[in-house]
């Protein structure tokens, strides 16, 4: 294991976040705080409790997931896309590093940043609404798994994208709608039956449901099913990245 390589990549990526502190940390926290003001206070005060949880509190896991998914993807995709864009990727490709070490460095840093953002958002939410976490270990588990798996997904997007438009394409056109339609702001049970069925094809539903269960013991699907889906997604991402490095897809000619 080339541990020095992992360290320098990780440190480089973390320093990049520190250089753009406002963009990396302040921006998602402010956005989430605004969601709490609008949905939690202004609109939420007019909505009844959902499954025995006040609306402002109910949306906390969904909002955290919204921020985690978008930040994980953005951090990891940009981290590997930028060296490709500037041409400095040559150094990574010619170095004695395996794809596992590259992943540990880039995805590890992206997941760490997302994890910190998640905790900061949780702390911010605590300022707006009362929060009790029923299963803190599960909550942390889902938080870490989500950060890692979506950072991996972002890494895949960064490897695949060969221009800035493609870098934004999937996060904007796929991920954001899936999160909004995945029960971030509502329970799936509130939808008409047809839409409930359609929603079950949205993988983000399982993610948010599991995460919400760890907070309130309230879920749209079984927590084990949620965990299986997240682990399956993580495995699929790992296999895809392995194949990309093995074949040199979008990396080597």
């Amino acid at each position: 294991m080339n541990i020095y390589a992992v360290k320098v990549i990780y440190k480089y990526e973390m320093l990049r976040a520190l250089h753009t502190l406002a963009q990396s940390f302040a921006s998602p926290v402010i956005s989430t705080a605004l969601y709490f003001v609008v949905f939690g206070s202004a609109i939420g005060s007019r909505i009844e409790q959902i499954d025995g949880v006040s609306y402002g509190t109910f949306i906390v896991p969904g909002l955290m997931m919204l921020a985690l998914l978008t930040q994980s993807i953005a951090n990891a995709s940009f981290g590997i896309f930028f060296p490709k864009f500037t041409g400095t990727i040559y150094e990574l490709m010619s170095a004695p590093v395996s794809f596992i070490e590259i992943l540990l460095g880039y995805v590890g840093a992206a997941a760490t940043k997302s994890f910190i953002i998640g905790l900061v958002i949780l702390a911010t939410a605590g300022l707006f609404v009362p929060l009790d976490i029923a299963h803190p270990v599960w909550m942390l588990g889902f938080l870490i798994l989500t950060c890692i798996s979506f950072s991996l997904f972002g890494f895949i997007i960064g490897l695949w994208a060969n221009n800035f438009e493609k870098l934004q394409l999937i996060p904007m056109l796929v991920i954001t709608p899936l999160v909004f339609l995945g029960g971030s702001f509502y329970s799936v049970n509130m939808l008409p039956p047809v839409w409930q069925t359609i929603t079950m094809f949205n993988p983000v539903v399982y993610l948010i449901s599991g995460f919400r269960w760890s907070f309130f013991e309230v879920a749209d699907v079984s927590v084990w099913l949620s965990l299986t889906i997240v682990l399956g997604f993580l495995g699929a991402c790992l296999i895809t990245v392995w194949w990309m490095f093995k074949s040199g897809y979008r990396l080597k000619q």
């Binding site: 020095y4 150094e91 004695p96 080597k252 000619q253």
Partner: protein, 308 residues
């Protein structure tokens, strides 16, 4: 002596169908400076990129320090430092940080003393805290060399190291290359500046259209393929070459005051003495005589043009 880089039957065809390399075989000895000469698109960068792991070969194999570049990529790549052709550097990093990054990437533990010495050698020590985007083109080129040397490689690949740099920096680079060779580093450089190969290389490889046309000791190549010319200045201009000199392959200058005789210096009898006697017998008065040797550039052009 075991070659430090051994290339066997290497071929590369890009997905576009372009044959960048055609069955290239080459052995490079430890401690030598090999210059790969060739026009744009000849395959020089593709060859280097395959050895360094940036491009996949279509056929053939390469070993570096005895290690296969695919099976033993860690050991092979650890021996190599690469200076790319383009000034590919991040903008928002400092000189010091980017060198630390490169050293770590190649699995070497931090060594601030070594990096300090390296930056001083490259005249970059006073710029160690400068952002990369603030540096001039010449400084960026030196930073790239510093990054390539930061992990103390045994082999240094320089892809067009002096492309677009001024004469002073070019000479600094040549001096650096010589110092590196003295420290035991094997250097492979690509260039289309013949002067560069002539100045610093031990051996010269000529590559064109993906084929390695030849690899020769620089002086042996010049000796083997280089023609020598005897240039004879006449005291008085003549209209035509006298018929008594018709057996010699002479060229008369437009002004009629200079005769040029091209000969092969490897022949036992070059004919120079006989020619001078014949000129004297023809009644022509000599003003001056000089000889000139073909440069690598002329050899290169003749080689490249010889292949269809």
């Amino acid at each position: 002596m075991q070659p430090i880089v051994s290339i066997s039957n290497l071929s590369k065809t890009y997905t576009s169908g372009f044959h960048a390399l055609k069955d290239v075989s080459l052995d490079i000895s430890p401690g030598e400076i090999l210059a790969l000469l060739g026009p744009n698109g000849a395959g020089k960068t593709t060859l280097i990129s395959i050895i360094c792991g940036i491009v996949n070969a279509s056929m053939g194999s390469v070993t570096v320090g005895g290690y296969d570049i695919i099976k033993d990529y860690r050991a092979a790549r650890g021996l190599i430092g690469l200076v790319p052709q383009e000034l590919t550097l991040g903008a928002f990093d400092t000189v010091w940080n980017t060198l630390c990054f490169s050293r770590g990437l190649f699995g070497k533990k931090p060594n601030p003393d070594f990096l300090e010495q390296l930056l001083k050698e490259l005249s970059l020590w006073d710029k160690k805290d400068s952002m990369l985007m603030e540096l001039s083109g010449g400084m960026k080129r030196r930073v790239l060399i510093g990054k390539a040397l930061s992990h103390e490689p045994s082999i240094l690949f320089l892809d067009e190291p002096t492309a677009g740099v001024d004469v002073e920096l070019r000479k600094d680079m040549w001096a650096l290359v010589r110092r590196l060779r003295e420290s035991g580093v094997t250097i492979i450089l690509t260039t289309h500046y013949i002067e560069e190969a002539e100045e610093i290389a031990d051996r010269v490889g000529v590559i064109n259209k993906g084929e390695l046309l030849l690899v020769e000791d620089k002086f042996a190549l010049m000796h083997k393929l280089g023609k020598r010319q005897l240039i004879i200045q006449l005291e008085e201009a003549v209209d035509i070459i006298p018929t008594t000199l018709s057996t010699w392959a002479l060229e008369l200058s437009a002004a009629g005051d200079q005769l040029t005789y091209t000969y092969d210096p490897r022949h036992v009898n070059t004919g120079v003495a006989g020619l001078l006697r014949s000129i004297n017998d023809a009644g022509l008065l000599l003003k001056d005589v000089e000889t000139s040797q073909s440069s690598l550039e002329e050899i290169f052009i003749s080689l490249v043009n010889a292949k269809p």
